[in-house]
């Protein structure tokens, strides 16, 4: 049993690695494929960890510090694992003037998470995005990939609550 589980874990690991390898191969392992490859890593692993950065650096022959410099320059990349659930808050101008500060405040009050962080129990990650283009829904929030909008802070907190509770 244990062996089978291990094997299965190994094969997912391989599968993920294959996806990253495919991206690099598509670009001929050229050093300029760094950002494309990091996108691929983040897509399959959820974040960029040191092992992955090492691997990419070696495969694309890009210096470690440069890989790190690029990975930290772009805010889309994250070096930390994300929580089980994500709440992305749009901070575009339209959303801002329609009450983003109050929303961030309410989340901080209820879950003690700042934008860009994950709650201590690993349940909730709060992220911000520079305009998701749903200005008509301002203030817009993306809960586990679903865009919702025109929410009062209280309603949002409720929605987050039920989102987290659902898998308990």
């Amino acid at each position: 049993m244990e062996l089978a589980a291990k094997k299965k874990a190994e094969s997912t690991k391989d599968k993920r690695k294959k996806l990253v390898d495919a991206t690099m191969r598509r670009h001929g392992h050229a050093s300029h494929a760094l950002i494309e490859t990091l996108h691929s890593v983040q897509e399959v692993y959820g974040y960029l960890d040191d092992d992955a950065l090492h691997y990419v650096a070696q495969e694309l022959r890009v210096p470690l510090s440069k890989v790190y410099g690029v990975a930290t320059f772009y805010h889309f990349f994250t070096l930390k694992p994300q929580g089980e659930h994500t709440c992305v808050i749009c901070t575009g101008t339209a959303c801002y003037i329609k009450g983003v500060p109050a929303i961030l405040h309410a989340i901080k009050e209820n879950y003690n998470v700042d934008a860009g962080d994950t709650s201590d129990d690993g349940k909730l990650s709060v992220l911000t995005a520079r305009c998701i283009g749903s200005c008509g829904l301002a203030p817009a929030v993306v809960l586990d990939g679903e865009v919702t909008g025109k929410l009062e802070p209280d309603t949002l907190i409720e929605r987050i609550g039920s989102m987290i509770k659902n898998d308990a």
Binding site: F73, G92, T93, A94, A138
Partner: protein, 549 residues
């Protein structure tokens, strides 16, 4: 694909379309999708199947219809009726009514200023083409312009049409497109590149996204024409990773075009080769700056470098490179089809054609519009935009995003063109237009933009890296009531330094939101400073005694 096959394909599709008695076009651009329009489309399809109307009813997922505020939107029989705020459960009723009277409770009048005062060139067809079908685009003369240019015009002649059109860069700067193209055309380098800048980073702007989601082939076609004119055989689209839907449709469109030999080698049987690849941005506003964008495509940190040399001389991998914004490319096909002179007949003396704007904020008709240059801001906000939300009072309209400024009531009659907006301390920008009402504090708005600039500054040059942080700190002090006039003077001084000494456009224009709010709303600043009072009641000002201790 030969020309004959190409013509035939279009014909076939047109014939197929004519078989249908009815059409149901569901908007599947991001704003409507976020209101479940994709599910609504599915329900309608199920409903049509159930009622066995499949042969008489054509259902398409089309691009942005503009009025996002009333989404999801559905267009029945090419404008016969327009449904708004549709829900999944309305599907049955909509399908049942297809041969009868329209569903009154969902109906939206198309004869309103929002629709009839617009002029669509870049967005033409955007709500009338299946977002995922090349055939549908071909049925509407898609890639016809590319074919004509390739077979009937020399690169020089095609360039002349762009020059004649007077088209200027729609990314914000307003640099004459024809001049840019001709610089790349005459440049002598081993290879040349065409880049489409789709790194739409302005908070509150979604024009490029909507165009790419709605009619990606039109952009590809425009880029290919550009490639032919300047002599490039490789194009890149640099697009924000935050736009998954647009990326998906672009990828799909590129694949379709490659399969039909509309991209690739010997396009349409001519000697012209042109391929397009997608490169994803990764959340850096500064990459909208062309040299930073190039660095990013090269896999580097997105730091700009000093210009000259301009990308036209030395760009991607030090080769001559043409960079234009999505909307600029969207205008190319119409210009090639109808001629540069036709385009130049629209707009004002120095700003030709139309401009797409994303209307948002405290305005009734939030959404995407395209208007002729020279229209007044007042017409856009109060006529097309439908005015301010109930119970609020207009205060300002913000254009140009973090590089632009806030325009007050007194300047609303000003015509929209590149020069006028600059004279009053704002700029055209890429087309975000945020309407601000009396419940917003202008100092707080300036702080919002400075927070943005500070966190988007790449850090390479000192004035921008430190100056934006300093300005943000001072605005923080003003909004919490701990600033004096001395801080206000420092703020003005910092604006001057950052504007004049920063390396790239981000820094050089970062002070604009502050300068324009100081210019038009000075009393709001002074009220925070002298009276420790925020007139809009937004800022939490410390009590007097707390300030001193």
């Amino acid at each position: 694909m030969t020309h004959e096959e190409f013509i035939q394909l279009g014909e076939e599709q047109r014939k197929k379309n004519e078989q249908y008695k009815h059409s149901i076009d569901v908007c599947v651009a991001a704003a409507c999708v976020s209101m479940q329009s994709d599910k609504i489309k599915k329900s309608i399809e199920d409903e049509v199947k159930k009622k066995e109307l499949g042969t008489s009813c054509r259902i398409r997922g089309v691009g942005c219809m503009g009025l996002c505020a009333e989404g999801p939107l559905i267009n029945i029989d090419n404008g016969k009726s327009l449904y708004c705020n549709v829900k999944e459960e309305d599907a049955q009723e909509i399908v049942s009514a297809i041969d009868k009277e329209p569903v009154e409770r969902l109906k939206l009048s198309a004869d309103v200023p929002f629709f009839n005062r617009q002029l669509k060139i870049a967005l033409e067809d955007s709500c009338n083409v299946d977002t995922e079908s090349l055939d549908d685009y071909l049925a509407q003369d898609g890639y016809e312009a590319l074919f004509d240019v390739l077979t009937k015009m020399s690169p020089g002649e095609a360039l002349q049409e762009v020059v004649k059109s007077g088209l200027r860069g729609r990314g914000g700067g307003g640099y004459p497109t024809g001049l840019k193209w001709s610089t790349v055309q005459i440049a002598v380098t081993d290879k040349k590149y065409v880049i489409c800048n789709a790194d739409e980073g302005d908070p509150g702007a979604f024009m490029d996204r909507a165009m790419l989601e709605s009619n990606p082939h039109k952009i590809l076609e425009g880029m290919a024409i550009a490639g032919y004119v300047v002599g490039a055989d490789q194009g890149y689209i640099y697009i924000r990773a935050e736009y998954p839907l647009a990326i998906k449709r672009l990828r799909n469109a590129i694949k379709q075009a490659e399969r039909k030999n509309l991209l690739g080698n010997n396009i349409l049987g001519t000697p012209f080769n042109f391929g397009i690849e997608i490169r994803l941005g990764a959340g850096a506003f500064v990459c909208g700056e062309e040299t930073a964008l190039i660095a990013s495509i090269e896999g580097q940190r997105g730091s700009p470098r000093p210009r000259p040399p301009y990308p036209a001389e030395s760009g991607l991998w030090e080769e001559s490179t043409l960079i234009n914004n999505v909307e600029t490319f969207a205008n190319i096909v119409p210009i090639m089809k109808k001629g540069g002179e036709w385009f130049a007949s629209i707009g004002t003396e120095k700003s030709k054609g139309t401009k797409v704007f994303a209307l948002a904020g405290s305005i009734k008709n939030t959404g995407l519009i395209e208007v002729p240059m020279g229209i007044s801001l007042r017409d856009v906000v109060f006529d097309i935009g439908g005015g301010i939300l109930e119970g609020r009072k207009f205060k300002a309209v913000q254009t140009g995003g973090p590089s632009g400024g806030c325009i007050p009531e007194s300047h609303l009659d000003m015509p929209i063109d590149y020069e006028s907006l600059i004279t009053i301390g704002s700029m055209m920008g890429s087309g975000g237009m945020i309407v601000i009402d009396d419940s917003s504090c202008m100092v707080d708005v300036a702080k919002f933009f400075m927070d943005f600039c500070q966190s988007e500054s790449c850090g390479k040059c000192v004035p921008c890296r430190v100056g934006t942080a300093q300005m943000h700190t001072i605005l923080e002090k003003i909004t919490n009531g701990s600033a004096g006039m001395h801080d206000f003077q420092l703020l003005e001084e910092l604006c001057d330094i950052v504007k004049n000494t920063s390396l790239c456009g981000l820094g050089q224009s970062a002070a604009n939101p502050i300068l324009s709010t100081i210019k038009f709303f000075r009393e709001e600043y002074l009220s925070h400073i002298h009276d420790k009072h925020c007139p809009a009641g937004v800022c939490k000002i410390k009590k007097e005694e707390e300030v001193i201790s």
